[in-house]
Amino acid sequence: MSSDVEDISDLEVQQEILVAGNPTFEKITDVVSRIVEGKPTRWWYGLFTVSVLLTIMLAANLVYLFWEGTGIWGLNNPVGWGWAIVNFVFWVGIGHAGTLISAILFLLRQRWRTSINRFAEAMTIFAVICALLFPAIHVGRVWVLYWVFPLPNQMSMWPNWRSPLLWDTFAVSTYFTCSLLFWYVGLVPDLATLRDRARSRLRKIFYGIFSLGWRGGNRQWRHYELAYLVLAGVSTPLVLSVHSIVSTDFATSLLPGWHTTIFPPYFVAGAIFSGFAMVLTLSLIARKVFGLEDIITPRTLERMNKIILVTGMMVGYAYAMEFFIAWYSGNGYEKFAFVNRAFGPYAWAYWIMVSCNVIVPQLFWSKKLRNSIPVMFVASILINVGMWFERFVIVVTLSRDFLPSSWDYYSPTAYDVMLLIGSFGLFFTMFLLFLRFLPMVAMSEVKGVLPQADPHYHPPGGGS
């Protein structure tokens, strides 16, 4: 690294304490590893039981779905996509914060990210897994789903490269692969720490295998940091591309309310918005339950709230701009679609969306409110509710398109609801397993931002 950069980081270290209570390296290791090494709390068992039960419900629901067909959902003729696609976009959106925090904030030298990046990345992985589930199961004939991949076959049939669904297939799976690699690379030093601390043979073998023989040597660190930097560089455009491409599912169609050029940036902003809200929700719980108040400091939380405020405003701007363009375009169908959104049969969903996504983040203009844990906790949940509704509002635009004769109201069935709840079950099952078996805070990175990590560090009250 160039000396300039070091100077700046020097400055930061001096200006700001990123970890409260000035813990030692050992303390950090201890606090984080304890969670993994100790016995799980009752809280964990309780939550895990609920999550697993929900996951089982999801599995049962899917079996029934495959048996009967997508007719068990509330879909109808104008509305060919329903909650499955809403959930897909919702989860992909959630999955944006992790890589953004890890990659973009890393490149931007936002060192406060270290306390939250690990589980933000984990969250990304699990959210993308949940997201990938939906496009797979929403097709009518799941057993031939593999036809979307360009597999050589005797019929010489190739997928249709003009279809945004195909772009989706590649965008989301690429994103998933890169995020997984990035997350795993970041985990290696911490896995080694856990390996070294492991008492049982099983743990030793498990962490031993996955820490890839990490010994913390200088050369290893140099390679590691380069690899991390490269992966951050690869992941950064993906953060922007994935949701842009997901948005083309809608934007490249010719339907009024879908066919809008603002969709790609608006979707990315929305994704970051919802992703940060989700990270916030999770970190507030984790910090309380696992006593990580010193590591995930109020300053970090406040910064996240600022990002939420910014992206929330971007989303609000997009909402307003959609209306403006609908009017400005002079296209009657377009105009109708937007008036219908706000005042049609789904107005209730639209106003839930606006209230949660545009009005709620305005609270964070107040320094007091954006530092208040209860306020931000409620706000973060409301924002995710709002972002789910945003996708719902977009998808049900289908219910009223060009020919009024085919208009119909879409309402979900119990199976749709179970699917959404079940996907949360799956997400939390994976997340709780992650908390149980992997270090939820990147120990090595947090240590890196401690004042002691600076070569010019002078312990307070110390001599030379």
């Binding site: 007719g71 879909l75 003729n77 996509w81 097709v139 009518g140 004939r141 669904l165 060009f402 085919s406």
Partner: protein
């Protein structure tokens, strides 16, 4: 016996255990599962047990997912029948009898299995076209609920047993000339049945013969009798009419001879260009019919200070107006047909304006003007209408009178007399030939009660219906496609009904049954019919003539000639003044009640036909149910909304049913459609609708007042396929008056302004070979729905059941959109058939990830079912929403016998795939193969799509748009031609010709 076991032995168990099982939950569950023929209706209320069972089963079977194909044994012909080439269909001419009408048809048969019906171009009642009933009757042939056995007192018996019984039993009547013997028959126009009737009457001169049909042309014949002194059959040629006034006559829809009438009407308004002229139609009606929708002026009226005025008055008023204007009706003198206090001169101004304008128009058009009245109008109206036509000079041009081919007309009065005699015990044996009088007779006749007083009852019927259940003998009636018979069409053209298939369930044809009753002999239908025809066909070699008749489908010589009787105006005047019409009594408490035949199930005879039950009603778009139809103002007064259940009380009888609001109906009127609410008919009919016969009264069987309506505190879900009635100001159906059209001939293509349409890609040039396209003339389209059923039949489209329709998952490939325009109380209605438009730049094709929907070189948007994975993206991106998704395996529960209706040239789609209109690609290819074999080009008009072929107005034109000489290319060059949503630059291959109406400028706008 458990209901599941009874399934194997259904006919028997069905008969015996119905009553004991009807109440049990298992039975209901079983019925529910069996319910829609061809459609699996998923029950949404899943129990934990059900869920676990299914889950267990699905887990157990998950490993067997690969074994989807059933193993079937194929046995080749050992001795192939002559002329049957597997894969090449054969076509036979036959006739579908319906009431006193005869519809000549051509039936497509695959290896001896009839699959599709078309009109016979040589037959005057179909002219090559058809209607929804004709199209759907093929499904009735394969109805698994049709009666399968002869039953005696609930026990299985046989036809031979019956013949033996009858020989013994009828001997009793030989001595007394048939005293105590009665026959209750449906009306027929069959020469053979007429001959057998004469033979029966000769043998049993004192037997009573009563003809009854719940929806019949009784009033028309009676009106003709009043005016001319004999029962004559009026035959209208509307193509000769410039002005048509319809008094509650749905001649485009539910009236007899609707195909020929529709064709004639459309001929009179075919517009090549703005310089052509077109006819003008005035409609005065109570409900909203498709004829009303086609009208240039329509009025369904009500008067502010009179609760309800029958539409009949408008004809009286019209007659008075015509006489004022100088129409000569010598000796005609109105009595006073109005109740005291009603002054027709102070009538609602709009009606008066319209009637005056109509009168002026009629007088101008003279012999090219015609007044038609609906079958629900009293006889005096028909007599008066005939007198007016005669005075105008159109008798002989637009209306011709023929002696009918039958001598017995349906009579409500005879029926009531018969029930009286039955009750008094004077009837010891009642023979019911077809029909279900226990269900469809007026409530005041108390038929069931009377029926119980009859010792021996014999019932020939296609279903085990209410009447069969109470009869001592039930004989299954053969479907017309399974039996020999004959029928005479209006105008005297006689044709033979020849069977396409041996009776599937051992049915007996009406001719065979009547022959046995009349002679005691068991003679094959073929011999019976030939015997009749031998006496009719006198000239030439009979065998030669007979073969020719069978081949052509009709006898070239008309059996009756036109008569030109003198109109007895005094008799007409007397009948008018004696008609004591029911009037609303001046305050709003009493409502009027109307009964009409259903455009779907007619009088109930098609109630077990899934295609017709799922066919959207042309006005309400309701499927699977009837409802109490009311106007918006009536709904407001009674505080009713759609689906609110009401109790209707009329002459101390009551029924409960939901209401449906129909904009444009007469106020203070409740219209009920007949034919629904049959409880034990079959799996399709049983759950559908409400029985309106329970309110019907024989004195005023079609309309009356004194109805009261009470709102009940519950709802009943109704399944409508179109929630939105308005076009929202969008240029979808482009419409102008003839005057506007002449001023702006290019109004239709210029209705939408858009930037130049350029493509992002280099366009594919569709300029070689055949380029297939379609044009639909909205001026001609009447919204009759024939195309929808024709398509369903041709393309193996499943029915999905009421619950699925409610969810918006109906599968029709061509739907007929109906939009209302204007004031909610007096809207006009327009129709627009929409099927896949085969866009050249199809939005569906671009979004399919697996390229399952692709374009072919001839411009067809092809759907590859095998490749489809079911993302539904194509459907989302289709601006016409014509793609249909198989949300479930809708054909899974199709009974074996019903599978025989499928067209073998069309794939039956499984669940999870998208489907849509293919422009009948199988028909295109069949023609192409023939053309290639002969090394020639496909000629214009050689390919006919199913919808095109069925269309009675020839509104649909299909062909090669690349050939400037083809009809479709010429039609598309007309200035009314426009592309629906063409501004999206998707270049649809189907285009529409704008709708032109021809209103009278003298009539003020509303």
């Amino acid at each position: 016996m458990s209901p599941m076991k009874s399934k194997d032995n259904k006919g028997k168990a069905y008969w015996r255990s119905l009553d004991e099982l009807a109440g049990s939950p298992e039975f209901r569950k079983w019925l529910h599962r069996e319910f829609p023929q061809g459609g699996s209706e998923l029950n949404n209320d899943w129990s934990r047990r059900n869920f676990l069972t299914l889950m267990g089963a699905s887990l157990a079977l998950a490993g067997l997912a690969g074994c989807r194909r059933p193993e079937q044994k194929i046995v080749p012909y050992v001795k192939p029948p002559e002329e049957v080439i597997p894969g090449i269909p054969q076509y036979y001419a036959t006739t579908m009898p319906m009431g006193t009408s005869a519809y000549g048809i051509i039936v497509e048969s695959h290896e001896g299995r009839p699959t599709k019906i078309e009109g016979n171009p040589k037959h005057p009642s179909t002219l090559g076209a058809s209607n929804a009933w004709i199209q759907a009757s093929i499904l009735g042939l394969y109805d698994p609920d049709r009666s399968k056995r002869v039953m005696r007192g609930g026990q299985q018996s046989s036809w031979d047993d019956f013949v033996a019984f009858w020989r013994e039993h009828s001997a009793k009547y030989d001595g007394n000339g048939g005293e105590g013997l009665a026959v209750l028959s449906e009306p027929f126009s069959s020469p053979t049945l007429a001959r057998l009737k004469r033979e029966f009457e000769k043998k049993y001169p004192r037997a009573k013969w009563v003809t009854y049909d719940p929806v019949s042309d009784e009033n028309i014949y009676e009106g003709m009798r009043i005016a001319t002194g004999e029962v004559l059959q009026p035959v209208y040629d509307l193509s000769q009419a410039d002005v048509i006034v319809s008094i509650d006559c749905d001649f485009l829809g539910t009236e007899s001879e609707n195909i020929a009438l529709t064709r004639g009407f459309a001929e009179g308004r075919r517009l090549g260009s703005e310089s052509d002229s077109m006819n003008r139609l005035y409609v005065l009606e109570e409900g909203y019919s498709i004829t009303g929708a086609a009208a240039d002026h329509r009025y369904a009226y009500s008067k502010d200070d009179w609760a309800w005025v029958p539409v009949t008055v408008s004809l009286f008023r019209l007659a008075a107006e015509l006489m004022d204007k100088g129409l000569r009706l010598p000796g005609f003198n109105f009595g006073d047909p109005y109740p005291s206090g009603f002054d027709p001169d102070e009538w609602y101004p709009q009606v008066l304006h319209m009637i005056r304008a109509a009168a002026a128009d009629l007088l101008t058009a003279k012999s090219r003007a015609v007044v038609v009245a609906g079958r629900s109008q009293p006889p005096a109206v028909h007599a008066l209408a005939l007198a007016l036509n005669d005075a105008l000079g159109s008798l002989g041009t637009c209306v011709k009178l023929y002696r009918p081919g039958f001598d017995s007309v349906s009579s409500m009065k005879d029926l009531v007399d018969l029930t009286g005699e039955m009750r008094s015990g004077r009837i010891s044996t009642l023979i019911t030939v077809s029909g279900d009088p226990a269900y469809n007779t007026p409530a005041d006749a108390e038929f069931t009660d009377a029926f119980n007083s009859v010792e021996h009852s014999i019932h020939l019927s296609d279903y085990v219906n209410e009447t069969s259940r109470q009869s001592t003998w039930h004989i299954p009636k053969a479907h017309y496609l399974e039996s020999w018979g004959d029928a005479q069409a209006a105008g005297g053209t006689a044709s033979v009904i020849q069977p396409l298939i041996a009776p599937l369930y051992g049915g007996v044809s009406p001719a065979e049954c009547l022959n046995t009753l009349a002679t005691g002999e068991n003679t094959p239908g073929y011999d019976i019919v030939r015997k009749t025809w031998r006496s009719m066909v006198r000239s030439g070699d009979f065998e030669r003539q007979w073969r020719r008749i069978l081949h052509d489908g009709s006898y070239e010589k008309s059996l009756s000639s036109e008569v030109k009787p003198k109109i007895d105006l005094a008799s007409v005047a007397l009948s008018v003044s004696e008609t004591r019409l029911p009037f609303g009594d001046g305050h709003h408490l009493s409502l009027a009640l109307q009964f009409r035949a259903s455009p779907s199930v007619f009088d109930g005879r098609f109630a077990n036909n899934g295609w017709l039950q799922e066919l959207p009603h042309p006005i309400t778009r309701l499927t699977w149910d009837n409802a109490a139809l009311i106007s918006p103002r009536t709904a407001e007064v009674h505080n009713l909304r759609n689906e609110d259940v009401v109790k209707l009380t009329y002459r101390e009888r009551e029924i409960e049913l939901p209401v449906w609001i129909v904009p444009g109906m007469a106020d203070n009127t409740v219209l009920l459609e007949l034919g629904y609410g049959q409880k034990n008919l079959g799996r399709v009919a049983n759950a559908a609708g409400f029985n309106a016969y329970a309110l019907r009264d024989s004195r005023w069987p079609d309309f009356d007042t004194q109805l009261s309506m009470t709102k009940l505190d519950r709802k009943y879900p109704l399944a409508s396929t179109q929630d939105q009635g308005s076009m929202e100001g969008r240029p979808l159906v482009r419409e102008a008056t003839l005057e506007e059209y002449r001023k702006h001939p290019n109004f239709a293509p210029e209705a939408v302004h858009h930037p130049p349409l350029v493509s992002m890609w280099e366009d594919h040039k569709y300029d070689k070979g055949y380029q297939l396209g379609m044009a639909i003339d909205l001026t001609a389209c009447t919204g009759c729905n024939a195309c929808t059923i024709a398509c369903q039949s041709e393309n193996n489209i499943p029915i999905v059941g009421k619950e699925q329709v409610r969810k918006g998952r109906e599968m029709h490939w061509i739907r007929v959109d109906r939009y209302f325009i204007g004031d909610i109380n007096r809207p006009a209605a327009v129709y627009q058939p929409v099927a896949c438009q085969h866009c050249e730049m199809a939005p569906c094709e671009q979004v399919c990830p697996v390229a399952a929907t692709m374009h072919d070189d001839e411009g067809l948007n092809a759907m590859v079912y095998n490749r489809c994975i079911g993302t539904r993206y194509c459907s989302n991106n289709c601006p016409y929403k014509v793609r249909r998704f198989n949300f479930f395996n809708f054909t899974k529960d199709t009974p074996e016998v019903t599978k025989m209706v499928n067209n073998p040239d069309v794939t039956v789609r499984s669940r999870g795939v998208m489907e849509k209109c293919t422009y009948c690609v199988q028909r295109i290819n069949r023609v192409r193969i023939e053309a290639k074999k002969n090394d020639r080009q496909i000629g214009d008009g050689e390919i006919q799509t199913a919808c095109q072929q069925a269309c009675p107005t020839e509104a649909i034109v299909f062909g090669n748009v690349n050939d400037p000489g083809s009809r479709v290319a010429k039609v598309k060059k007309r200035n009314r031609n426009y592309d629906l949503l063409g501004e999206l630059n998707i270049r649809p291959r189907t285009s529409y010709l704008a709708k032109i109406r021809n209103p009278n400028p003298e009539v003020p706008e509303t």
